[in-house]
């Protein structure tokens, strides 16, 4: 009996016991669908995380933050100048693994324009900051080298602040505003930045819309009394994958200069940990449901197939009398389950694709059922079917012809 004919017999069996077939399909379909959905969502999230990273400047970004002094600082800690503008200049000159260095001054200042006033963050920095963090002005320009050199009283506003202070981004350009009673001219407003990991998460980039940038030299002169203490340094490694080694290099250089490690340094990661953990858990639940469904589906198939084998004992006896070998009987039963498994796999794949689309739509998650996922889904279903069919097929194959013929 050729394999094709065994398949046809299997198909016929499946059609004849339609109720049983549908039942045994159910587990397989649900299991396969769940697994397809999980894999598609997971793949989408991985892609999404990469998109986020590239939106905040891509791989290869390193942040150094000034560390607060301990309550009882050591002599070495007291002796250190801490993170300074000079460190930035030094790194720019000496660190071989960095392509850009942006020093950062940071404070909360009082914004005032007309009768609007509020307190918000202000960042003092250099033009490199925009390059490292992939910041683009929507109107006007970002800070320039000349601004830094001349300690100009210019400001670049985040989108939200421009909107709050002047009603619209375009209207802010060229206007003046006060930052803690010093007057500045608006030379640029940044693009609005948005990133939602899922529909129910906040805009992870909202902080970028709610701040202003001034030249770092201006910040030192106006607010720090010419002291060059930094809040942070943002660095860019020469290659996207070089952030780890660049981190180590910078760590060594700064430790030597400071005589102590009084700073935090780390390559930028991606996602907000809580949301990511929630989504991982969500994936995990889907995956567990999928595996349980497949397992249950496998048991149901084994059971139903076993019943069908018992029901057809005389038929197997007759086939053996006509010369069917044990192997041929075994193949016949396995072909029957194979038909069920392939149909179950394909149905599960379709259902999973639909489910993925629905979840992706309502949760605003990017998820795609790729060919490898589809192949894996079918393979899993067929695998479960074959494992489930093995025992019934073996039972049928080892029947004794004479006992099988006497049966029933």
């Amino acid at each position: 009996m050729s394999f094709l004919e065994a398949l046809l017999v299997g198909l016929d069996e499946a059609r004849r016991h339609l109720g049983q077939t549908v039942l045994s399909l159910l587990g397989l379909v649900l299991g396969t669908a769940s697994i397809v959905t999980v894999l598609a969502l997971f793949g989408g999230q991985t892609k999404h995380t990469q998109e986020y990273l590239s939106q905040v400047g891509g791989y290869g970004t390193v942040i150094v933050r000034d560390q607060e002094l301990a309550e009882q600082p050591s002599a070495r800690e007291l002796a250190s100048d801490r993170l300074t503008y000079r460190d930035a200049a030094y790194l720019k000159e000496q660190a071989t693994m960095l392509s850009a260095v942006a020093p950062g001054w940071y404070d909360e200042l009082e914004y005032r324009a007309g009768d609007v006033d509020f307190t918000g963050p202000v960042v003092g920095t250099t033009p490199d900051y925009a390059v490292i963090n992939d910041i683009r002005p929507e109107v006007g320009r970002y800070l320039s080298d000349l601004d830094v050199k001349l300690k100009s009283r210019v400001v670049v506003l985040g989108w939200k602040y421009a909107d709050s202070l002047f009603g619209a981004a375009e209207r802010a350009l060229g206007k003046t505003l006060q930052l803690s009673e010093r007057t500045y001219t608006v030379v640029g407003v940044l693009e609005r930045e948005e990133f939602y990991f899922a529909a129910w998460t906040d805009n992870w980039l909202e902080y970028r819309n709610e701040r202003a940038y001034i030249p770092i030299t201006t910040a030192f002169t106006q607010y720090s009394g010419d002291d060059d203490q930094l809040a942070f340094l943002t660095l860019k490694a020469t290659t996207p994958t070089g952030s780890r080694s660049a981190t180590e290099q910078v760590r060594m250089m700064l430790r030597l200069r400071h005589g102590v490690e009084d700073f935090d340094i780390q390559p930028t990661g991606g996602a907000d940990a809580d949301d990511a953990a929630f989504i991982l858990m969500f994936n995990f639940i889907f995956l567990v449901v999928g595996i349980i469904s497949l397992f249950a589906g496998g048991i149901v198939i084994a059971n139903i197939l076993l019943a069908s084998v018992v029901e057809r004992v005389r038929e197997f006896g007759t086939r053996m009398a006509l010369g069917a070998s044990s192997l041929q009987i075994f193949s016949q039963v396995l072909a029957q389950v194979l038909v069920i498994a392939v149909v179950g796999g394909i149905t599960g794949l379709s259902l999973g694709t639909a489910l993925t689309g629905t979840v992706a739509y309502f949760m605003r998650l990017p998820a795609v059922v790729t060919p490898p996922i589809a192949a894996l889904a079918i393979a899993t279903s067929v695998g479960v079917g074959i494992v489930a069919g093995f025992y019934p097929a073996w039972r049928a194959a080892r029947l004794s012809p004479v006992e099988a013929l006497r049966y029933g």
């Binding site: 050729s2 005389r314 007759t318 086939r319 053996m320 010369g323 070998s325 013929l405």
Partner: protein, 223 residues
């Protein structure tokens, strides 16, 4: 030399605590082209003998040679091969596959033998069915046929592999007298074309058709 040669066949079943000796040393020779009827009351062991001759079961003791093949020592796959090539078995209840067409049913042994394309198998099945007077029923299912017709389909299925021997179990057991007579005529025709037939029955009338009668009682040949 005999086509079929059984010597001292014994078969002992274990039913619970009791050993049942169904065959107690049966000797049987059948020569090529012979038509033999085995008769005996129920419990005489004729079904057991039939199963052993048909290679569906193996004897507890004794030797069995079929078409110069020492069958008694074969097991599993080799035995399946003998069933497929040397034996044509006609069951009392016909045992046709209800979901296959008549021609597919008849072609089954060739399917298990391998080496025949489906088209060729069905062609041979149709040729045989025409010879047995079922030329217009190729595509029917067994339940659309009368008992006598089903019996003839079963005969065609047994013959398609050109076996050395045709084994027939209680051919008229499930037929009315008219269909029974028809079937006996079929056997005579099949025998006339050179086939060797061994038939088991408890019907004197059927046994009279055969060239030779073997009487079985209590697991022994008595005549």
């Amino acid at each position: 030399m005999a086509l079929l040669e059984a010597r001292g066949l014994e078969k002992t079943y274990r039913l619970g605590q009791v050993d049942v000796r169904a065959l107690r040393g049966v000797d049987l020779d059948v020569v090529r082209g012979e038509y033999v009827a085995i008769m005996g009351p129920s419990g005489s062991g004729k079904s057991t003998l039939m199963h052993i001759l048909g290679c569906l079961d193996t004897a507890s003791a004794g030797t069995y040679r079929l078409d110069s093949t020492e069958v008694g020592s074969l097991r599993g796959r080799a035995l399946a091969r003998v069933r497929n090539r040397l034996v044509g078995f006609v069951f009392q209840t016909f045992n046709l596959m209800p979901r296959l067409t008549i021609e597919e049913n008849v072609a089954l042994p060739l399917q298990y033998r391998g080496g025949f394309a489906r088209r060729e198998r069905l062609r041979r099945a149709r040729t045989l069915l025409e010879r047995l007077g079922l030329g217009d029923r190729f595509r029917h299912r067994p339940d659309q046929l009368s008992g006598g017709e089903r019996q003839r389909v079963a005969v065609a299925r047994a013959l398609i592999g050109e076996p050395a021997i045709l084994l027939i179990d209680e051919p008229t057991g499930n037929l009315d007298s008219k269909a029974g007579a028809e079937v006996l005529r079929t056997f005579r025709e099949v025998h006339a074309t050179g086939n060797t037939i061994v038939l088991v029955t408890h019907d004197r009338h059927v046994a009279d058709e055969a060239d030779r009668l073997v009487q079985l009682t209590d697991g022994k040949v008595v005549a």
